[in-house]
Structures are given as structure tokens and as C-alpha cells.
Symmetry: C2
Subunit: 135 residues, 2 copies
């Protein structure tokens, strides 16, 4: 599936065993795993699983708005099943990612953009630094 297809071609999805497993794995985690982490984890229950399938399913789940991807640094994407509005803080020393709840009035720009006629599909608020423990 190409990037543009997401917009123009509304696919009819089937719930495969693998997709359910990816979704379940992400739901039952508190961290923000990479595709490779999910893959390693799921191989225990689905030995024949392939990494490509994990990527394809993460992509579809994001299109379905059931999960969101996070690009904190230039490295691998991370995934999150928590769809509540929140920011992420990454400590670049220990690598830990913290969820930061957001007050609704923090997203005033979003409302201004919408008022100007722009459609909002994704908002990412990512903060990188060194956490208190690592300083």
C-alpha cells in the first residue's frame, strides 16, 4: 500500500491473527516499543511471523486510528496504543520515554488551524532532554 492510497483508496480490512496479536501486544504494554521489539515479542507465540508483517500491520492500525507512531529521534519509529492526547519526553541518556498528559488549552494552535479551514490529522508534541535522574 502506497502512502497516497491511504487517502484515496479506502480498503476493506480483514482482522488477521497477526494483526490482532500486534494490536494486543501494543495494548498490554506500558512502554513505546519499536516494530522490532514487537516482532521479537510475538515470535514467541507466532514463530513464523515476519517483520514485514509487523510493519504492515502497524501501518494499517495507524491508518485505522487505533494506534499512533512516534518519531522521537532520527532512529526507529515507536508505537503507542494510548490514543489520548499526550506529549512524549525522551531522555536521550537513559532512553526512557515519559508520557505527559496535556491540558486541552495547550492545543490552542490546533483550534486556530481548524478555524482557518485546515484539517488536523495528527499532533505530535515531543520533547527531548536529559531527565532528572541522568543529570
Amino acid at each position: 500500500m502506497k502512502f497516497t492510497d491511504k487517502v484515496t483508496h479506502m480498503a476493506i480490512y480483514r482482522e488477521s491473527h497477526q494483526r490482532r496479536a500486534v494490536m494486543a501486544n501494543l495494548t498490554h504494554r506500558r512502554d513505546h516499543p519499536t516494530a522490532a521489539t514487537i516482532y521479537d515479542d510475538l515470535r514467541k507465540e507466532i514463530p513464523a511471523l515476519s517483520l514485514g508483517t509487523v510493519y504492515r500491520n502497524l501501518d494499517i492500525l495507524e491508518t485505522q486510528n487505533r494506534i499512533r507512531s512516534i518519531k522521537l529521534d532520527q532512529r526507529e519509529a515507536r508505537y503507542d496504543a494510548d490514543m489520548n492526547i499526550h506529549a512524549h519526553y525522551l531522555c536521550r541518556v537513559c532512553g526512557k520515554i515519559m508520557d505527559l498528559p496535556l491540558k486541552p488549552d495547550c492545543c490552542q494552535i490546533v483550534r486556530e488551524l481548524e478555524a482557518a479551514g485546515h484539517r488536523i490529522e495528527k499532533v505530535s508534541i515531543d520533547i527531548i532532554g536529559t531527565c532528572a535522574l541522568c543529570r
Copy 2:
């Protein structure tokens, strides 16, 4: 230079012709070019320039806090010499990137994190959607 060296090893930088050119190119632009775009542009004045050098210099300039990198989608990084606090809006249909000025009170989380002892090194607020013209 490895990722971790940025933290532990404080390098003494020299201002090369190439680094000055990358910085100047970025300063004189209003868009948010990729490394490849800057490279294509600078080849006109520095024909022997290599893409690796562009990447290395963008990396160093970001470490020096003279520019910032932007990761809007899963694709190439973009670069911005505007160091004022602002958000970015990407229209995923036409690809245009808008700068969004931010009111200082929009970053309350940042102050809360700092109060809790965490050091903030970078804040990215990125919004993806479909702009008014493309709808």
C-alpha cells in the same frame, strides 16, 4: 562522531568553507529543505561537495544549537535555521510546511518538566493534516 560523543565529548569546531555554506544556505531560505536539497543547491558553488559532508555539517550545526532538524513524517529530515519557538504544520497532500508561531504559555509542560529537574534540550510540535486549499 557517535551519538553519545555529543554528550561527553565537547569537540572544538573549525569553521570550514563547507560549513559556512550550509549555514548560509539554510539562513537564506524560507522553506525547510532536506539535506539532499541543500546539497543540490550548494553543488552549484561547490561542485566537489559531498552529501556526507552536508549531513555531517547539519549534525554539527544542530549540536551547536544554530539550526534544528524537523522530522515531520517517516521520510527525510528537514532543517530550519529559525531558532524561535514555533510549531510546524505539514499538509500531506501538497507537502507544504507552515511555520506556526507559539505563545509562550503554550509550553507549560516544558516549565513543569524543568521544575521537576528534567533538562529540556529540544521541543518539537508537529502537526500533520490537509490544508484548506487541498481539501
